[in-house]
């Protein structure tokens, strides 16, 4: 009888630990890689689909997956997924959490969540997929915004949390996105938005203005942020300004407006000013120029000469929505410590065809890119030409690295998750 009990417990323990054992080596990818294209040697499987409006994604040490949702699904804002059979596909999907938003990260035994006006955290519970409901307020007092409201957060491992506070504006015009309205100078939004704010990572009830420190400024909006542990610095990728043609048709034609300005990749050091709204980066002239709202003529730099340049420039409007420095050893050596960036895909290129809807890779050596960027995963849109944003079937929005080195990508249209693996 005693032995039987021990045996039963062993079986139970074994069964319970099964979801921790999904290593990429035992996985069978989907035929056609779930609709996406990848470099040779890489393949993908669909972990889950139809989760809702997915934004960012976090994967725990045991393989459990958490996805933030922009809109509630089953009246909840977080999708929790677990694979209990070891085939990489989630067979348990549960919803929890009352907040909706973008940022989601596992940190110090909690699931941190970037609701659009606050950062909260839900306690993880040993053995449980779902975190507890008794959430705590970490940072609050963020402005009520109706654009660029996403609050992604990142940690430096030294007790600090960095939160993007996007500027609720295109170029800080006196009248929101209205032709002929001049840029406000100085731009008052920069006092509380358009930058990165630094908080303590486990102090409750911090207020943005009284407890938070403005770590960097002149960043219009950066949903993609990541702490690079190799060099101990924060990196973000900015959503550049829109509508140059619409507001300045005499200076920019529709094609130029579709191709300017660059989406900028920033190494964010403390106190840095990247120039928004006064400046934008012209990737063809390779310099920051004065924005037309502030008297710019497409070429003059004036105050923009002193603003921080990007470490890399991407095509305009393609919407960088997540950044991940790859530290796994599943992928080949080339990818080690390099950056993956999920580009959500453009809207502000019309009437030109839209662009983006892919995941790119940027090789790194130390603090800086060691080569040009390349498209790593493509085909999310499901069509060659996207004229209207809605034509895209899927839009990559969030990235995470699994404990085995798999790369997870989550889509924002339907909430599909791909797990990308490599087999030599």
């Amino acid at each position: 009888m005693k032995y039987l009990l021990v045996l039963m417990f062993s079986i139970l323990a074994f069964a319970c630990s099964q979801h921790e054992k999904t290593s990429a080596k035992n996985l069978t990818p989907d035929t056609g890689n779930g609709g996406i294209t990848l470099p040779d040697g890489f393949s993908a499987l669909v972990v889950a689909d139809e989760l809702g409006r997915g934004r960012h994604i976090a994967v725990n040490e045991n393989g459990d997956i958490y996805v933030s949702l922009r809109e509630q699904n089953e009246n909840k804002g977080i999708a929790c997924l677990r694979d209990t059979t070891g085939d990489g596909r989630a067979d348990i999907v549960e919803y929890t959490g009352e907040h909706t938003g973008t940022g989601i990260k596992l940190h110090k035994g909690h699931l941190y969540f970037g609701a659009d006006t606050a950062v909260v955290r839900y306690p993880l519970q040993a053995g449980e997929l779902r975190p507890g409901n008794n959430w705590e307020m970490i940072a609050r007092g963020f402005p009520q915004e109706r654009q660029h409201e996403a609050k992604p957060m990142e940690f430096d491992g030294q007790g600090n949390m960095y939160v993007t506070v996007g500027a609720p504006a295109n170029a800080c015009m006196e009248q929101m996105r209205t032709k002929g309205s001049p840029g406000m100078d100085p731009c008052p939004l920069l006092e509380y938005a358009g930058g990165i704010w630094k908080f303590k990572d486990d102090v409750l009830n911090q207020d943005q203005m009284t407890d938070g420190v403005r770590y960097a400024t002149g960043i219009r909006h950066a949903v993609a942020n990541s702490w690079n542990k190799q060099v101990n610095e924060l990196y973000v990728v900015q959503h550049g300004r829109d509508q140059l043609h619409q507001f300045f048709p005499e200076m920019y034609d529709t094609k130029e407006s579709a191709e300017l300005p660059a989406e900028e990749f920033f190494l964010v050091t403390e106190g840095a000013d990247f120039g928004w709204p006064y400046c934008y980066y012209d990737q063809f002239q390779e310099k920051k120029v004065l924005a037309p709202e502030y008297g710019g003529d497409r070429e003059i730099q004036e105050r923009c000469e002193n603003k921080m340049d990007p470490i890399m420039a991407f095509p305009a409007h393609i919407g960088p929505n997540d950044l991940l420095f790859y530290t796994g050893d599943l992928f080949p050596e080339k990818y080690r410590n390099g950056a993956f960036i999920a580009f959500h895909g453009s809207w502000n290129r019309a009437p030109e065809p839209q662009s983006g809807y892919f995941v790119v890779f940027v090789p790194f050596d130390g603090a800086y890119p060691s080569g040009t960027w390349e498209i790593f995963a493509d085909g999310f849109a499901g069509t060659d030409t996207v004229n209207s944003t809605r034509d895209a079937e899927y839009r990559p929005c969030g990235l995470a690295q699994g404990p085995d080195g798999s790369l997870y990508v989550v889509d924002s249209n339907k909430g599909k998750i791909w797990r990308i693996i490599y087999s030599s």
């Binding site: 996105r177 032709k179 009437p351 209207s388 944003t389 839009r395 249209n413």
Partner: protein, 152 residues
């Protein structure tokens, strides 16, 4: 004379062939312009004066086919916001709009800037254009109707 006649015939034939090609290429262009779900009459709306206003003012956010941007800019297709109450539509165009709205089952919570700088004629044209394009088939909006809302 005989040769002239043959030449004439040949010329007519060639011309008609060219004309034919022109026509078919035009048709092709029209098909390309049509949206995936495009049930509108592109020939009649393509020359509508409201299209010019739409292309320069609205298209950047609401897209050439009126489908909008998921989660950001609501679509103008098959929605009461466009084909319903004229006064509400004129008001939104003049004064802009903010706050949560639901369109075709999806929630939008962004900001539409005011467009009171457009003339009554431009607003009447563009609103008639969107009410009769993208598969919509609602009545036109007149300059007088815009005037009335503006002067309210």
């Amino acid at each position: 004379m005989k040769i002239n006649g043959i030449l004439f015939l040949l010329l007519v034939f060639l011309l008609s062939a060219c004309g034919g090609r022109n026509q078919s290429s035009q048709q092709q262009t029209e098909t390309q312009i049509q949206t995936p779900g495009g049930t509108e009459k592109p020939a009649s709306m393509a020359n509508h004066p409201g299209k010019k206003v739409y292309d320069s003012v609205c298209l950047a956010c609401h897209m050439a086919d009126g489908s909008g941007v998921p989660g950001m800019h609501p679509p103008l297709i098959e929605t009461d916001w466009v084909t319903g109450d004229k006064e509400r539509l004129i008001e939104i165009t003049l004064n802009g709009m903010s706050g949560k709205i639901e369109v075709n089952g999806e929630t939008y919570n962004s900001i539409m800037p005011p467009h009171s700088h457009l003339s009554d004629r431009q607003i009447a044209d563009v609103l008639t254009y969107i009410r009769q394009s993208f598969g919509n088939n609602a009545s036109e909006i007149t300059v007088e109707e815009v005037q009335k809302v503006r002067n309210k």
